[in-house]
């Protein structure tokens, strides 16, 4: 059963088509990552799931609701907008209680304290939101999102602006929420987070779905078309036989193979040019796939 079922949904703002005939099934209990360049329609999709926007065409069903949407379903869904979203003048505990009550969740005191403790914010419980650092505010906002024990959690860029320690705390929290049965959908620009955390990855580009599936299935679609090399000193990488594109990462290089390229031939050519330290044939990273789809000079994407 799906936590979110999006069927042939389109949404445009004035002349601009933000989401174009999108269909997507988010299974219950999964972690679903939304990726895509800025302005590709991620936030619009999340907002449509939240009923903040209504689609021009198509249907979005959330949790087990029938065809007719009910307002009360929103109590079981939570949404963390990108950055901010807190009243600066309110105390931390106070603002959390307010958001809990807005979802119809009363007697939230114990839950709030447990979360504050877990996020290492207990000392700030009675301070005003405006006194918090950016990372702390982000954590408070995350608590505000999950405080009412939602079944479906939508997070827009939850990791942006967090230091590694806080990012880890947040990741653990997300995993635990999933263990407790919640479904989590989040958008991110951090490809390694998406690769490591998500059961499914969905990429939207110019309002259209371009990728959808597990990381493995996505990578399989591209095959073993990437070679990572590291040569001593400086060597030239232009005009290699059977190489479609070279990405210079600085100390290492990523070569994308043309169809039916011979990796042995490439290795031989590289050995002629310099001392090969590392030569690895593999599948493209999510980062690479993202860039292939979304960068303007790329034309031949899958």
């Amino acid at each position: 059963m799906s936590a979110v079922a999006i069927e042939a949904v389109s949404k445009s703002f004035r002349q601009h088509l933000a989401v174009d005939n999108l269909s997507l099934q988010v299974p219950r209990g999964s972690i679903y990552g939304f990726i895509g360049p800025n302005g590709s329609g991620k936030t619009t999709t999340l907002r449509m799931i939240m009923r903040i926007f209504y689609p021009d065409a198509g249907v979005i069903r959330v949790l087990d609701e029938a065809n007719r949407p009910r307002p009360s379903i929103l109590d079981r869904v939570a949404y963390l907008p990108e950055e901010r979203g807190l009243y600066k003048q309110m105390g931390v505990r106070e603002v959390l209680r307010f958001y809990a009550e807005l979802k119809g969740f009363r007697n939230s005191r114990a839950d709030i304290d447990a979360w504050l403790k877990r996020m290492d914010l207990l000392a700030w419980a009675d301070k005003k939101v405006q006194t918090l650092s950016k990372g702390m505010a982000q954590k408070v906002q995350f608590i505000a999102t999950v405080i009412a024990r939602p079944e479906l959690i939508l997070l827009d860029e939850p990791f942006s602006g967090l230091d590694p320690v806080n990012a880890e705390t947040l990741r653990d929290a997300i995993l635990e929420l999933r263990r407790d049965g919640a479904t989590i959908v989040f958008s991110t620009h951090d490809m390694s987070v998406a690769e490591n955390l998500c059961d499914f990855i969905f990429m939207i580009y110019k309002g259209r779905k371009v990728l959808d599936g597990t990381l493995e299935s996505i990578q399989d679609a591209y095959g073993n078309d990437t070679v990572r090399v590291h040569l001593d000193g400086t060597a030239r990488f232009d005009d290699l036989p059977g190489v479609a594109k070279v990405t210079d990462l600085g100390r290492a290089q990523e070569l994308r193979l043309a169809p039916e390229a011979d990796t042995q031939e490439i290795l031989a050519e590289l050995m002629r040019r310099g001392r090969v330290r590392h030569f690895e044939i593999g599948r493209p990273t999510l980062h690479d796939i993202f860039v292939r789809i979304a960068s303007p000079e790329e034309t031949n994407h899958a």
């Binding site: 907002r47 949404y79 963390l80 009550e101 807005l102």
Partner: protein, 447 residues
């Protein structure tokens, strides 16, 4: 429904618990009564710098000048406090200017010359007494022409002309009697000619406690004016005190993306109603504080009968409706703007609506049941303030008028809330650029 109250409660406490709310609550009446207090405190203060005036007496033989001179002399003797030897009033110096030729060119020339001396600061002003003052010619309507003038570039300071007005009048009267050969002693004539001022007072009534007839009191003169003005200013002030922060709150919610979180939990209309409810509760809190204070003061100083309980009840009704009506307008403005600066541009039409009763105040006070006053008190945006103004001026208004007013305001309020709800829904998520007035109207009427 429950969520609406959650929002309303938050709004209420967010507004009431701030320090600025308490400060405003105290400061507002202080500011309002401050100017009155200032005047009262400064009533004994006078600028004691010596002032110089020129006198042109164009009567034959300049026969009025001596009376002015003696008046000033007498006045100057009292400008110094005999105990402290400090000046308490400005000394006046006068100089007599020989009258020019009587043709109008020469007169104009002389006035210009004196005006220039005033301009240079040599003189504070000058008095020009026309030659015809003993028998002033009538104008077309039969009223005597004014032939005595006081010219100055400080027209608000009239101490000097007020000082000499009566002595000049007496001197002129004396000369007129002399011309007409009236031989009666001047003291007798003056008694005959004593002016008869009319005193404006309230009504005489019977004291219900001891049955004695009581003369109109000072309160009965002030209250019929002070109470209506107080009511109306209070309503205006409370609307501004509560609606403006709420509007700023909406803008903050937009800027901080709180709106998105809220809309993820509450329907936009419920959210807006919650805010309006919270604001109305705040305005009623302020009203209670001020009205309570005013009622207590009224009891203390014998005003109580001018603030009857039913008037207070009407005030609360109109105040609540005004809060909802203006609140929804302010909320719509807030939702349409993306930062505080933009609100300034969209505020003025709303402010104009709120100010309109202020412009009409004095005319309505004078004639509370005139056609104009009655008509404007049925224009819904003016009704709360103007109706309470009319109701509180004795003898009040026909009973059906406030009822009809409430119905009209209620309908308008519903319309405003509905329209604001539509603007709110669209505007709340709009980022980047604020909307224009036309755009807001399109949001209201679109699908």
């Amino acid at each position: 429904m429950r969520k609406m109250f959650v929002v309303a409660l938050r709004e209420y406490f967010a507004a009431v618990r701030t320090k600025s709310f308490l400060v405003t609550l105290i400061i507002m009446p202080v500011l309002m009564s401050g100017s009155i207090l200032m005047q009262w405190l400064l009533r004994d203060y006078h600028d004691t710098k010596t002032k110089r005036f020129a006198i042109v007496d164009r009567t034959a033989g300049a026969r009025l000048y001596p009376s002015i001179e003696s008046t000033i002399q007498h006045y100057n003797e009292h400008t110094i406090d005999p105990a402290t030897k400090k000046p308490i009033l400005p000394r006046f110096e006068i100089e007599q200017i020989p009258a020019s030729a009587s043709d109008s060119d020469a007169v104009a020339e002389q006035r210009l010359e004196l005006s220039q001396r005033v301009h240079k600061g040599e003189l504070f002003g000058f008095l020009d007494i026309g030659a015809e003052v003993l028998q002033p010619p009538s104008d077309a309507t039969g009223r005597p022409k004014k032939v005595v003038r006081y010219q100055s570039n400080r027209p608000t300071n009239l101490d000097f002309p007020h000082l000499i007005e009566e002595p000049i009048l007496f001197a002129i009267q004396e000369l007129r009697f002399e011309r007409e050969r009236v031989r009666e002693p001047m003291s007798k004539l003056r008694a005959i000619l004593r002016p008869v001022p009319i005193e404006a007072m309230g009504l005489t009534r019977r004291n219900p406690a001891n049955g004695a007839i009581e003369d109109a009191s000072l309160q009965s003169r002030i209250a019929p004016v002070a109470v209506p003005i107080g009511f109306m200013l209070l309503m205006f002030m409370v609307i501004m005190m509560t609606a403006t922060p709420m509007m700023q709150g909406v803008v903050e919610e937009k800027m901080q993306r709180i709106a998105e979180v809220l809309l993820g939990s509450v329907r936009p209309f419920d959210l807006m109603l919650g805010k309006l409810l919270g604001m109305t509760a705040v305005s009623l809190t302020i009203t209670t504080v001020y009205l309570g204070g005013a009622y207590w003061a009224a009891q203390e100083y014998g005003f109580a009968e001018y603030i009857p309980p039913e008037l207070l009840a009407w005030f609360v009704v109109f105040q609540s409706l005004a809060a909802l009506m203006y609140g929804s307008l302010f909320i719509a403005v807030g939702a349409a703007c993306t930062d505080m600066k933009e609100t300034q541009n969209l505020m003025w039409p709303v402010m104009l609506l709120a100010m309109m009763p202020m412009f009409l105040m004095s005319s309505v006070l004078q004639e509370p049941n005139s056609v104009v006053a009655t008509t404007f008190s049925f224009v819904p945006f003016s009704t709360p303030m103007l109706m309470i103004l009319r109701q509180s001026v004795p003898p009040g208004v026909p009973w059906w008028q406030p009822l009809l007013g409430v119905v009209l305001v209620l309908l308008t309020t519903l319309l405003c809330v509905w329209a604001a709800g539509r603007i709110f829904r669209v505007g709340l998520l709009m980022q980047g650029k604020g909307a224009k007035l036309g755009e807001m109207l399109r949001w209201v009427f679109r699908s």
